[in-house]
Protein backbone atom coordinates (compact mmCIF):
# COMPACT_ATOMS: atom_id res chain seq x y z
CA UNK A 1 0.00 0.00 0.00
CA UNK A 2 2.76 2.41 1.01
CA UNK A 3 4.79 1.46 -2.05
CA UNK A 4 2.01 2.61 -4.33
CA UNK A 5 2.24 6.22 -3.10
CA UNK A 6 5.54 7.10 -4.83
CA UNK A 7 4.37 5.17 -7.90
CA UNK A 8 1.23 7.25 -7.98
CA UNK A 9 3.32 10.38 -7.53
CA UNK A 10 5.63 9.39 -10.40
CA UNK A 11 2.73 8.56 -12.71
CA UNK A 12 1.12 11.91 -11.84
CA UNK A 13 4.35 13.73 -12.66
CA UNK A 14 4.73 11.77 -15.86
CA UNK A 15 1.15 12.49 -16.86
CA UNK A 16 1.70 16.17 -16.06
CA UNK A 17 4.83 16.24 -18.19
CA UNK A 18 3.32 14.39 -21.14
CA UNK A 19 -0.44 14.65 -21.10
CA UNK A 20 -0.81 18.44 -20.94
CA UNK A 21 1.66 19.32 -23.73
CA UNK A 22 0.43 16.41 -25.88
CA UNK A 23 -3.17 17.56 -25.56
CA UNK A 24 -2.05 21.09 -26.29
CA UNK A 25 -0.09 19.92 -29.35
CA UNK A 26 -3.21 18.14 -30.63
CA UNK A 27 -5.30 21.26 -30.18
CA UNK A 28 -2.67 23.43 -31.88
CA UNK A 29 -2.61 20.94 -34.76
CA UNK A 30 -6.40 21.02 -35.16
CA UNK A 31 -6.66 24.81 -35.02
CA UNK A 32 -3.58 25.06 -37.24
CA UNK A 33 -5.25 22.91 -39.90
CA UNK A 34 -8.25 25.23 -39.82
CA UNK A 35 -5.92 28.21 -40.14
CA UNK A 36 -4.16 26.57 -43.10
CA UNK A 37 -7.43 25.84 -44.90
CA UNK A 38 -8.56 29.43 -44.45
CA UNK A 39 -5.17 30.92 -45.42
CA UNK A 40 -4.98 28.78 -48.55
CA UNK A 41 -8.46 29.83 -49.64
CA UNK A 42 -7.58 33.51 -49.14
CA UNK A 43 -4.10 33.37 -50.65
CA UNK A 44 -3.76 34.46 -54.30
CA UNK A 45 -1.21 31.65 -54.67
CA UNK A 46 -3.43 29.01 -53.03
CA UNK A 47 -3.54 25.46 -54.39
CA UNK A 48 -6.65 23.52 -55.29
CA UNK A 49 -7.32 20.51 -53.08
CA UNK A 50 -8.54 18.01 -55.64
CA UNK A 51 -6.75 18.97 -58.84
CA UNK A 52 -4.19 16.59 -60.29
CA UNK A 53 -1.25 18.93 -60.87
CA UNK A 54 0.84 16.16 -62.42
CA UNK A 55 -1.34 14.59 -65.11
CA UNK A 56 1.56 13.08 -67.05
CA UNK A 57 2.03 9.35 -66.63
CA UNK A 58 5.11 8.51 -64.55
CA UNK A 59 8.27 8.10 -66.58
CA UNK A 60 8.97 4.45 -67.32
CA UNK A 61 12.51 4.74 -66.00
CA UNK A 62 11.73 4.85 -62.28
CA UNK A 63 14.12 4.06 -59.44
CA UNK A 64 17.52 5.77 -59.52
CA UNK A 65 16.39 8.20 -62.24
CA UNK A 66 13.62 9.39 -60.03
CA UNK A 67 16.03 9.98 -57.19
CA UNK A 68 18.40 11.82 -59.45
CA UNK A 69 15.82 14.47 -60.34
CA UNK A 70 17.11 16.46 -57.41
CA UNK A 71 20.73 15.54 -57.89
CA UNK A 72 23.45 17.77 -59.29
CA UNK A 73 23.08 17.95 -63.05
CA UNK A 74 25.18 15.04 -64.16
CA UNK A 75 23.77 13.93 -67.49
CA UNK A 76 20.65 15.94 -66.71
CA UNK A 77 19.92 16.43 -70.40
CA UNK A 78 20.24 12.73 -71.22
CA UNK A 79 17.98 11.85 -68.30
CA UNK A 80 15.45 14.49 -69.34
CA UNK A 81 15.48 13.24 -72.94
CA UNK A 82 14.84 9.66 -71.80
CA UNK A 83 12.05 10.83 -69.48
CA UNK A 84 10.36 12.91 -72.19
CA UNK A 85 10.53 10.13 -74.75
CA UNK A 86 9.21 7.59 -72.26
CA UNK A 87 6.13 9.81 -72.00
CA UNK A 88 5.69 9.70 -75.73
CA UNK A 89 6.77 13.24 -76.63
CA UNK A 90 9.37 14.25 -79.18
CA UNK A 91 12.49 15.47 -77.35
CA UNK A 92 14.14 18.29 -79.29
CA UNK A 93 17.75 19.35 -79.01
CA UNK A 94 18.96 22.93 -79.14
CA UNK A 95 19.82 22.64 -82.83
CA UNK A 96 16.27 21.64 -83.77
CA UNK A 97 14.72 24.31 -81.56
CA UNK A 98 17.02 27.00 -82.98
CA UNK A 99 16.24 25.85 -86.52
CA UNK A 100 12.50 26.06 -85.81
CA UNK A 101 13.02 29.51 -84.33
CA UNK A 102 14.69 30.72 -87.52
CA UNK A 103 12.03 29.12 -89.73
CA UNK A 104 9.84 31.77 -91.43
CA UNK A 105 6.82 29.61 -90.59
CA UNK A 106 7.18 30.78 -87.00
CA UNK A 107 6.31 34.31 -88.03
CA UNK A 108 3.09 33.11 -89.66
CA UNK A 109 2.08 31.14 -86.55
CA UNK A 110 2.72 27.73 -88.06
CA UNK A 111 5.44 27.11 -85.51
CA UNK A 112 4.61 28.13 -81.95
CA UNK A 113 6.87 28.24 -78.90
CA UNK A 114 5.15 27.74 -75.55
CA UNK A 115 6.89 28.81 -72.33
CA UNK A 116 5.75 26.59 -69.46
CA UNK A 117 7.41 28.63 -66.71
CA UNK A 118 5.63 30.83 -64.20
CA UNK A 119 4.69 34.41 -64.99
CA UNK A 120 7.59 36.17 -63.23
CA UNK A 121 10.48 34.31 -64.97
CA UNK A 122 8.55 34.58 -68.24
CA UNK A 123 8.33 38.33 -67.88
CA UNK A 124 12.04 38.55 -67.10
CA UNK A 125 12.86 36.89 -70.38
CA UNK A 126 11.60 34.27 -72.82
CA UNK A 127 12.14 33.05 -76.37
CA UNK A 128 10.81 35.85 -78.62
CA UNK A 129 7.19 35.26 -79.54
CA UNK A 130 6.72 32.41 -77.05
CA UNK A 131 3.30 32.18 -75.40
CA UNK A 132 3.22 31.75 -71.65
CA UNK A 133 1.34 28.73 -70.33
CA UNK A 134 1.84 27.86 -66.68
CA UNK A 135 0.64 24.25 -66.24
CA UNK A 136 -0.08 24.89 -62.55
CA UNK A 137 -2.40 27.82 -63.33
CA UNK A 138 -3.65 26.91 -66.80
CA UNK A 139 -6.97 28.74 -66.58
CA UNK A 140 -5.30 32.10 -67.18
CA UNK A 141 -4.02 31.41 -70.70
CA UNK A 142 -5.59 28.13 -71.77
CA UNK A 143 -8.00 29.39 -74.45
CA UNK A 144 -5.52 31.72 -76.12
CA UNK A 145 -2.70 29.15 -76.11
CA UNK A 146 -4.85 26.24 -77.29
CA UNK A 147 -6.24 28.35 -80.14
CA UNK A 148 -2.71 29.25 -81.27
CA UNK A 149 -1.54 25.63 -80.93
CA UNK A 150 -4.48 24.28 -82.94
CA UNK A 151 -3.57 26.62 -85.81
CA UNK A 152 0.09 25.58 -85.73
CA UNK A 153 1.84 22.69 -87.45
CA UNK A 154 4.40 22.35 -84.70
CA UNK A 155 4.30 23.36 -81.03
CA UNK A 156 7.58 23.48 -79.12
CA UNK A 157 7.14 23.56 -75.35
CA UNK A 158 9.96 24.41 -72.96
CA UNK A 159 10.60 25.24 -69.32
CA UNK A 160 13.96 25.76 -67.62
CA UNK A 161 15.24 22.45 -69.02
CA UNK A 162 16.96 19.46 -67.44
CA UNK A 163 15.09 18.11 -64.44
CA UNK A 164 12.20 20.55 -64.99
CA UNK A 165 9.06 18.59 -65.94
CA UNK A 166 6.77 21.57 -66.41
CA UNK A 167 7.07 21.48 -70.22
CA UNK A 168 5.78 17.90 -70.20
CA UNK A 169 2.93 18.86 -67.88
CA UNK A 170 2.03 21.76 -70.17
CA UNK A 171 2.20 19.46 -73.21
CA UNK A 172 -0.09 16.96 -71.46
CA UNK A 173 -2.63 19.70 -70.73
CA UNK A 174 -2.49 20.95 -74.33
CA UNK A 175 -3.00 17.39 -75.50
CA UNK A 176 -6.03 17.02 -73.21
CA UNK A 177 -7.37 20.25 -74.68
CA UNK A 178 -7.24 18.78 -78.18
CA UNK A 179 -3.80 19.57 -79.57
CA UNK A 180 -2.57 16.41 -81.36
CA UNK A 181 0.39 14.79 -79.63
CA UNK A 182 2.19 14.48 -82.97
CA UNK A 183 2.46 18.27 -83.16
CA UNK A 184 3.95 18.64 -79.68
CA UNK A 185 7.70 18.66 -79.07
CA UNK A 186 9.63 19.39 -75.89
CA UNK A 187 12.80 21.45 -76.09
CA UNK A 188 14.96 19.48 -73.65
CA UNK A 189 17.57 22.12 -72.82
CA UNK A 190 14.90 24.70 -72.12
CA UNK A 191 15.41 28.37 -71.45
CA UNK A 192 18.63 27.80 -69.49
CA UNK A 193 20.36 26.35 -72.53
CA UNK A 194 18.79 28.95 -74.83
CA UNK A 195 20.31 31.70 -72.71
CA UNK A 196 23.66 29.93 -72.36
CA UNK A 197 23.89 29.63 -76.14
CA UNK A 198 23.44 33.38 -76.52
CA UNK A 199 20.15 33.18 -78.38
CA UNK A 200 17.78 36.15 -78.61
CA UNK A 201 15.37 36.69 -75.77
CA UNK A 202 12.43 38.96 -75.21
CA UNK A 203 12.64 41.47 -73.61
CA UNK A 204 16.25 41.95 -74.78
CA UNK A 205 19.10 41.69 -72.28
CA UNK A 206 20.74 44.97 -71.39
CA UNK A 207 23.98 43.57 -70.04
CA UNK A 208 25.70 40.50 -68.59
CA UNK A 209 23.43 38.97 -65.97
CA UNK A 210 23.45 35.84 -63.93
CA UNK A 211 21.67 33.05 -65.75
CA UNK A 212 20.53 31.24 -62.64
CA UNK A 213 18.75 34.38 -61.48
CA UNK A 214 17.08 34.88 -64.80
CA UNK A 215 15.67 31.45 -65.47
CA UNK A 216 13.86 31.08 -62.15
CA UNK A 217 11.67 28.11 -61.31
Amino acid sequence: MLDSVPDKHISKRWAKLVFGPALEAGLVLLVGIGFAVLANSLSPFGLQWSRNYFPTPPATSEGPDRVSTAAPRVNAQAEAKARIESRGYAAWTFERAAEAFRDPLRLSGQIVFVDARAEIPYRRGHIPGALQFDPYRPDHQLLEVVAACLRAMRVIVYCTGGACEDAELAAALLEQAGVPKSRLAIYVGGFTEWLERGQPVEPPRTGPERIDKEVGP
Binding site: L27, A36, S50, P72
Partner: protein, 165 residues
Protein backbone atom coordinates in the same frame (compact mmCIF):
# COMPACT_ATOMS: atom_id res chain seq x y z
CA UNK B 1 10.05 42.80 -4.14
CA UNK B 2 10.07 40.97 -7.44
CA UNK B 3 13.44 40.63 -9.10
CA UNK B 4 13.94 40.85 -12.88
CA UNK B 5 13.94 37.90 -15.23
CA UNK B 6 16.61 35.26 -14.79
CA UNK B 7 19.16 34.35 -17.42
CA UNK B 8 17.27 31.12 -18.12
CA UNK B 9 14.04 33.03 -18.67
CA UNK B 10 15.77 35.45 -21.01
CA UNK B 11 17.40 32.56 -22.85
CA UNK B 12 14.01 30.86 -23.09
CA UNK B 13 12.49 33.99 -24.57
CA UNK B 14 15.36 34.24 -27.06
CA UNK B 15 15.02 30.60 -28.12
CA UNK B 16 11.23 30.94 -28.42
CA UNK B 17 11.54 33.98 -30.64
CA UNK B 18 14.41 32.50 -32.64
CA UNK B 19 12.42 29.32 -33.29
CA UNK B 20 9.28 31.32 -34.10
CA UNK B 21 11.04 33.65 -36.51
CA UNK B 22 13.00 30.89 -38.23
CA UNK B 23 10.08 28.49 -38.65
CA UNK B 24 7.75 31.34 -39.63
CA UNK B 25 10.16 32.56 -42.28
CA UNK B 26 10.55 29.07 -43.75
CA UNK B 27 6.77 28.58 -43.70
CA UNK B 28 6.12 31.90 -45.44
CA UNK B 29 8.68 31.12 -48.15
CA UNK B 30 6.78 27.90 -48.91
CA UNK B 31 3.37 29.49 -48.67
CA UNK B 32 4.51 32.25 -51.04
CA UNK B 33 5.29 29.69 -53.76
CA UNK B 34 3.21 26.59 -52.99
CA UNK B 35 3.78 25.14 -56.46
CA UNK B 36 7.52 24.96 -55.79
CA UNK B 37 6.79 23.25 -52.48
CA UNK B 38 4.33 20.89 -54.18
CA UNK B 39 7.06 19.84 -56.63
CA UNK B 40 9.52 19.40 -53.78
CA UNK B 41 7.10 17.15 -51.87
CA UNK B 42 6.51 15.13 -55.03
CA UNK B 43 10.24 14.57 -55.59
CA UNK B 44 10.38 12.38 -52.47
CA UNK B 45 8.15 9.91 -54.31
CA UNK B 46 6.21 8.98 -51.17
CA UNK B 47 2.80 10.37 -52.12
CA UNK B 48 1.10 9.54 -55.40
CA UNK B 49 -2.51 10.42 -54.63
CA UNK B 50 -3.15 13.96 -55.93
CA UNK B 51 -5.33 15.19 -53.07
CA UNK B 52 -2.95 13.87 -50.41
CA UNK B 53 -0.05 15.56 -52.21
CA UNK B 54 -2.02 18.81 -52.47
CA UNK B 55 -3.14 18.63 -48.83
CA UNK B 56 0.46 18.16 -47.71
CA UNK B 57 1.63 21.13 -49.77
CA UNK B 58 -1.24 23.27 -48.51
CA UNK B 59 -1.21 22.37 -44.82
CA UNK B 60 2.46 22.16 -43.88
CA UNK B 61 3.58 25.71 -44.75
CA UNK B 62 0.60 27.35 -43.06
CA UNK B 63 0.90 25.05 -40.06
CA UNK B 64 4.47 26.27 -39.70
CA UNK B 65 3.35 29.89 -39.96
CA UNK B 66 0.63 29.28 -37.38
CA UNK B 67 3.05 27.57 -34.98
CA UNK B 68 5.49 30.43 -35.44
CA UNK B 69 2.81 32.98 -34.56
CA UNK B 70 1.94 31.05 -31.39
CA UNK B 71 5.59 30.90 -30.37
CA UNK B 72 6.18 34.59 -31.03
CA UNK B 73 3.12 35.54 -29.01
CA UNK B 74 3.72 32.91 -26.36
CA UNK B 75 0.50 30.94 -26.70
CA UNK B 76 0.45 27.21 -25.96
CA UNK B 77 4.23 27.26 -26.00
CA UNK B 78 4.89 23.70 -24.86
CA UNK B 79 2.28 22.09 -27.09
CA UNK B 80 3.45 24.12 -30.08
CA UNK B 81 7.06 23.20 -29.35
CA UNK B 82 6.09 19.52 -29.21
CA UNK B 83 4.21 19.77 -32.47
CA UNK B 84 7.14 21.50 -34.14
CA UNK B 85 9.60 18.97 -32.76
CA UNK B 86 7.48 16.16 -34.17
CA UNK B 87 7.22 17.82 -37.58
CA UNK B 88 10.94 18.61 -37.64
CA UNK B 89 11.91 15.05 -36.75
CA UNK B 90 9.73 13.80 -39.60
CA UNK B 91 11.23 16.27 -42.09
CA UNK B 92 14.76 15.45 -40.95
CA UNK B 93 14.24 11.72 -41.40
CA UNK B 94 12.83 12.31 -44.89
CA UNK B 95 15.63 14.66 -45.94
CA UNK B 96 18.27 12.30 -44.55
CA UNK B 97 16.70 9.31 -46.26
CA UNK B 98 16.46 11.12 -49.61
CA UNK B 99 20.05 12.31 -49.22
CA UNK B 100 21.15 8.76 -48.53
CA UNK B 101 19.41 7.58 -51.72
CA UNK B 102 21.23 10.27 -53.71
CA UNK B 103 24.48 9.32 -52.02
CA UNK B 104 24.02 5.68 -53.05
CA UNK B 105 22.75 6.46 -56.57
CA UNK B 106 25.49 8.94 -57.44
CA UNK B 107 28.37 7.64 -55.33
CA UNK B 108 28.94 11.13 -53.96
CA UNK B 109 30.22 11.98 -50.47
CA UNK B 110 27.19 12.38 -48.19
CA UNK B 111 28.00 15.96 -47.19
CA UNK B 112 28.76 17.01 -50.80
CA UNK B 113 25.15 16.35 -51.79
CA UNK B 114 23.21 19.51 -52.45
CA UNK B 115 19.55 19.54 -53.37
CA UNK B 116 16.33 21.45 -52.87
CA UNK B 117 14.77 19.63 -49.95
CA UNK B 118 11.60 21.70 -50.15
CA UNK B 119 12.48 23.40 -46.90
CA UNK B 120 11.97 26.87 -48.36
CA UNK B 121 15.59 27.92 -48.75
CA UNK B 122 16.25 26.43 -52.19
CA UNK B 123 19.25 24.21 -52.84
CA UNK B 124 21.27 23.51 -49.73
CA UNK B 125 24.04 21.13 -48.67
CA UNK B 126 22.55 18.08 -47.00
CA UNK B 127 24.75 18.21 -43.91
CA UNK B 128 24.06 21.92 -43.42
CA UNK B 129 20.33 21.19 -43.49
CA UNK B 130 20.63 18.28 -41.08
CA UNK B 131 22.70 20.40 -38.67
CA UNK B 132 20.18 23.26 -38.94
CA UNK B 133 17.32 20.87 -38.21
CA UNK B 134 19.19 19.42 -35.24
CA UNK B 135 19.45 22.92 -33.75
CA UNK B 136 15.75 23.56 -34.37
CA UNK B 137 14.73 20.20 -32.88
CA UNK B 138 16.92 20.82 -29.85
CA UNK B 139 15.37 24.25 -29.35
CA UNK B 140 11.84 22.87 -29.70
CA UNK B 141 12.51 20.01 -27.27
CA UNK B 142 14.05 22.38 -24.74
CA UNK B 143 11.01 24.65 -24.91
CA UNK B 144 8.64 21.69 -24.85
CA UNK B 145 10.06 19.89 -21.85
CA UNK B 146 11.08 22.72 -19.57
CA UNK B 147 9.43 25.86 -18.35
CA UNK B 148 11.64 28.20 -20.29
CA UNK B 149 9.87 30.46 -22.72
CA UNK B 150 7.29 31.66 -20.20
CA UNK B 151 8.59 35.21 -20.15
CA UNK B 152 6.33 37.67 -21.98
CA UNK B 153 3.97 34.95 -23.09
CA UNK B 154 0.32 35.77 -23.65
CA UNK B 155 -0.96 32.36 -22.53
CA UNK B 156 1.84 29.92 -21.84
CA UNK B 157 -0.53 27.03 -21.00
CA UNK B 158 -3.45 26.75 -23.35
CA UNK B 159 -4.54 23.62 -21.55
CA UNK B 160 -3.73 23.12 -17.90
CA UNK B 161 -3.19 19.45 -17.27
CA UNK B 162 -5.98 17.87 -15.25
CA UNK B 163 -3.35 16.51 -12.90
CA UNK B 164 -1.34 19.69 -12.59
CA UNK B 165 -2.93 20.78 -9.35
Amino acid sequence: MKSGPTYIELLGLGVRWFLGLWVGWLGLLKAWDPVLFLKAVRQYGLIDTPWVLNATAILLPWLEVFSALLLLLGIAVRGTAWLLAGMLVGFTVLVGWHGWQLHVAHQMPFCAIRFDCGCGTGEIHLCTKLAENAVLIGSALWLGTGRAGQLWSVRYHLVRSCVST
